[in-house]
Symmetry: C2
Subunit: 640 residues, 2 copies
């Protein structure tokens, strides 16, 4: 954690100094905002938490509820989401209060007596060790609480504006605030009255029945619901031995249960199969009572019994799989002629079953993807064309999700005797683990994703996939650390310089690259404002091939030890050696001749280049950087 | 984390349900309290945080400052303290914001040019792996903040009463509230006026100039100050390469520096040797300016230079070593005839140098030791004789601390040419690491520490030393965990049952022991109130020798799966298997025939007994349990 560099901080260092629009932030929603977010679900709250880090951007979030969510429906937190929480600073805290999945059990009819279920498999949840982060179950309401805390502690002191419902919008290109939004007060003394706000950009994070989606003319397309599930969060006693394990249970009598243990040691969720939905009788299934769900669960669990003592929440839902063809307001015929002003995220774009535990996770990555891009465009770092990459990148991810969930849902709904291979269900679960863990997203080349020309220099950092952390040792204080965990969700691009075999010094390949990075007018760093810290826009880190005791921090080039804060202090925490017992060069297939790995603010690898690839690096960033400071174009930056 | 068992908890599960005296807690200090703590330093705040967990005990803490401490002086956090923070729920958070010591560097005059210093050694801070917890540096003010949060989230919703200074006390034995305390309002509208409070017990945590100590007739005895140090917390630039490492620096020119990097990446503390104090010129050294301290530091660091940019805090202090002969108000001639009513803790009992980073740590353990004992006596669980063990146990620890610090301080003050062996300083540091890490405390047999008759059954859990955690796997949810980290600072005794080789079942030795524990009127559990959860007073855990997949939780005896909460739910999280790759039986030298390890609420091992040692266990607890419920004495407890 980096603090004290602006002077002694006495209190919680997680509470950032108030700055920009956070100073005298108006309590009441202003008439003009930079970004208006509609909806305080996972996508909206993550986007708000990310944008709250930009001190000069006015972001407001409206939510029709009158306050905080009390009981949410989503609860699955994949490892990629915990990795994201780490960047926002609350992974450890939410992990401490969550249920952690380490194994999953499969139960099937006993061949000797199909009326009874028996455990047939108990695989590890992450046998390949795809991530150092855990797979968690925790109520969505707590995820939102943590993002609310991130906002509250940000320089902009952001908080949601509750009691305001989206009613419509109109985009008038060419104006400074081109999106005119109509809101309705949904609670409080002004309930029922309208409110108008002008925004530069709007993010619709308003769920499956999104009105923002409707306003921009998008529609959800896909298959209709055809299978119904009763879902309940309950406290119970039982003799079922795996009540605290995630279980897929298939009964001989017909029907299945997906059991999801929940946080706290007692609560669990059951998805209980209610059978196929006849379009004429949908109403009937929808009115299934909690007593009927419990009775059905007991029938499936036989010979075990479930004695429900308390019901926290229950519902009946039908599985459908639907998707929009675009995630922004640029219609196909407008592509190339204008850039988007309105975006939709999460359930507004993609709806599917809850049982693969994907919805909240994919939604959050939608929010992560769009938020930093809006930040960079609004701050003038990047051109508006950057915003077109959002729909292009996320629509594909949603399509893959829908396909995956359709397979998983239909497997879960299938009767035991319909499987050709009795281990098909667990084999599907274990063989596809990387997808539901959230690590199969792989963005294709674009303005912000390079071509894989030099991928062989860093085989463990595939371009377009998220940067997978590995252990290193920080030189200045000899602390063993995870390199990736040093990246926070601060909106910065990251450049990891993996040095060649030479020790630190100006004549090494890494030293020559460092000199270019610091002083060339073509360096991406050259556009960093002169009054900002050297590392304000780019977080540049160096990793040497030697162990930390062999490295002389005095010989490390200055660009890796930027000057920060009003006292012009040297920041030494960006210089690393390898952990010889887990050498990052070996673990990630890094070329011993050195390699540069460029990582986006949302943690995806944007490029892999050789240390001599300065022209390619300059060209890559030239496409997404808006202008350069005149004094920088003429030569080296003046150092603080 | 255990929650939801009283019904669904929507918000932060760390915030406990308000109960007992927390309901309608008066803002203003009442006239009568159970425990009055004087002083909000580490000892007082830990004691308050512990006592705040007892819902029916009114504990108040008075502090003469008008509010929260802004800049504290102590900053060293030994591993034992982080272990303690873990039990209070904030180890991970304070670690995330602290500086972590992993190596230490020693600098000495260059033999070739004694005017220059060179690095001569760089040992690991904890080469023996004495603890899984880190050694940290973080400002005392933040430690106090976290304890304040624990109190605020406790059932009693406790918070300090600021602006009240201790003025005196009088003990009148025989009354219900025998301690009459006089306080003075030190700030606010009532400033200067007096306030009287009656308390059952008083804890004096009011520092080196303790007035509580004076009031009970204790005096500090020991050697006078004879060496002075300038200490400064500063932000600076420097070419000294180890500025972010803990360093002991001895110069040839004379004088030495102890460098302690601080949290946040930039701040550091330097203790700069100002030389021996002549009793006639003490005043002179005490008025050393910050400029003079910086100048002296630069002279010692030669050829490196220090350019101080900002001074957060500085002071000059002289080293003395002083100790009181007792930690409570029972004078030697009263021993055995009365039990104590007033206790002193921390700096009120022991003062010494700051440089071994011990003061805050030992003080907190003073607070931990007395607080649970007061809780148990006030709740009627234990007789007042329990309170006499406080002074007996902690005075010895303080004596050892003074002896250790005297050695370390004099070594640090010695000139390089005065060492017979040039590696003496670093050898002392590394060879004694377990002491400053906080793990050498070993209480001797008493009312609450058993004789080591069966120590050979658990050689890795020495009786009288703190329970050292080891990995296990929880059966119900297959989570790999640290056994010791499942213990929270909730005031409960813990009984760890390490099973014999048999699988779970009633006929095994562990099963027979479990039956006795649950149903015998001689069992320590028999005194648990009938309306409380089965595990309200004793947290009983079982660890089997098999891996978790081999264990049938259904066959585990009921005492290890207590019924909890209004819904009478089974709590399954107390049953563990071994981690075969790190078998706790091997790691802790546990007898394969099974063993019972009894652990105190402050985490110290109280007893080690065989599974057949029920009579010994009953006898051990009989001495410290006040009465038994009549219905329990007649037979088995009624189960909920």
């Amino acid at each position: 954690m980096h603090f004290h560099h602006h002077g002694y901080v006495s209190g919680d260092p997680r509470i950032q100094a108030v700055a920009g629009v956070g100073i005298d932030r108006p309590e009441v929603l202003p008439d003009e905002v930079d970004v208006l977010i509609v909806g305080s679900g996972p996508a909206g709250m993550l986007a708000a938490a990310q944008l709250s880090q930009f001190p000069d951007i006015t972001t407001r979030l409206v939510e029709r509820r009158s306050g905080r969510l009390a009981i949410g429906q989503a609860d699955g937190i994949q490892a990629r989401s915990v990795e994201t929480f780490q960047a926002f600073g609350f992974a450890e805290r939410i992990t401490a209060e969550a249920y952690r999945i380490t194994e999953m059990a499969f139960w099937k009819p006993d061949p000797a007596d199909p009326a009874r279920i028996i455990r047939t498999a108990r695989p590890l949840d992450d046998p390949a060790g795809v991530s150092e982060f855990p797979h968690l179950i925790v109520n969505q309401a707590r995820v939102l609480d943590y993002f609310a805390e991130v906002m509250a502690h940000s320089p902009t002191r952001m908080k949601p504006d509750y009691g305001l419902e989206f009613a419509g919008l109109e985009v008038s290109d060419g104006e400074e605030y081109p999106v005119k939004v109509t809101l309705t007060h949904s609670s409080g003394p002004l309930e029922g009255t309208q409110r108008f706000v002008r925004a530069k950009y709007v993010i619709g994070a308003d769920g499956a029945r999104s009105q923002v989606r409707t306003a921009i003319g998008c529609t959800l397309a896909g298959d209709a619901a055809n299978h119904a599930w009763g879902v309940m969060d309950v406290l119970a006693t039982t003799d079922f031995p795996d009540i605290r394990l995630k279980c897929a249970i298939q009964s001989g009598a017909g029907g299945s249960i997906l059991l999801i243990p929940r946080e706290g040691g007692h609560l669990f969720r059951m998805y209980v199969d209610l059978g196929d939905v006849d379009t004429h009788t949908t109403g009937g299934i929808r009115s299934t009572t909690i007593e009927e769900i419990i009775e059905k669960a007991n029938a499936i669990l036989h010979p075990y019994t479930l004695n429900v003592r308390n019901v926290a929440w229950h519902s009946v839902y039908e599985v459908g799989h639907r998707l929009t063809d675009r995630f922004d307001d640029v219609r196909p015929e407008e592509l190339g002629s204008r850039t988007p002003r309105v975006f939709i995220t999460g359930d507004a774009c993609h709806t599917h079953s809850a049982k693969a535990g994907q919805g909240m996770n994919v939604s959050m990555q939608d929010g992560f993807n769009i938020a930093w891009k809006l930040g960079h465009v609004l701050e003038g770092r990047s051109p508006e064309s950057l915003l077109s990459t959002y729909s292009a990148e996320r629509q594909v991810v949603a399509k893959n999700l829908i396909d995956f969930d359709r397979q998983w849902s239909s497997l879960m709904a299938r009767k035991p005797d319909e499987f050709e291979d009795p281990t098909e269900l667990e084999n599907f679960y274990t063989s596809t683990m990387e997808f539901p863990a959230g690590f199969m997203t792989e963005y294709t080349p674009s303005l912000i994703v390079g071509e894989a020309t030099h991928q062989e220099l860093a085989t463990g950092f595939p371009i377009g996939k998220r940067f997978k952390s590995a252990p290193v040792v920080r030189v200045c204080d000899t602390n063993p650390l995870q390199l990736g965990h040093q990246a926070t969700a601060d909106g910065r691009w990251r450049i990891y310089v993996f040095a060649d075999e030479a020790l630190p010094g100006p004549q090494s390949k890494a030293g020559i690259f460092a000199d270019w990075l610091e002083s060339s007018p073509d360096s991406p760093l050259a556009v960093t404002p002169g009054d900002a810290d050297q590392d304000a826009w780019f977080d540049v880190k160096v990793i040497y091939q030697q162990d930390h005791q062999s490295l002389d921090i005095g010989a490390v080039p200055a660009v890796f030890k930027p000057t920060v804060g009003p006292f012009k202090l040297d920041y030494l925490e960006k210089v690393f050696g390898v952990d010889p017992s887990q050498d990052i060069y070996e673990l990630r297939g890094l070329d011993r001749g050195g390699v540069v790995v460029v990582v986006r603010p949302d943690q995806y690898v944007a490029h892999v280049l050789p240390l001599t690839g300065t022209a390619e690096l300059a060209a890559f960033f030239a496409g997404m950087q808006t202008g350069r400071r005149p004094e920088a174009a003429g030569g080296a930056r003046v150092k603080g």
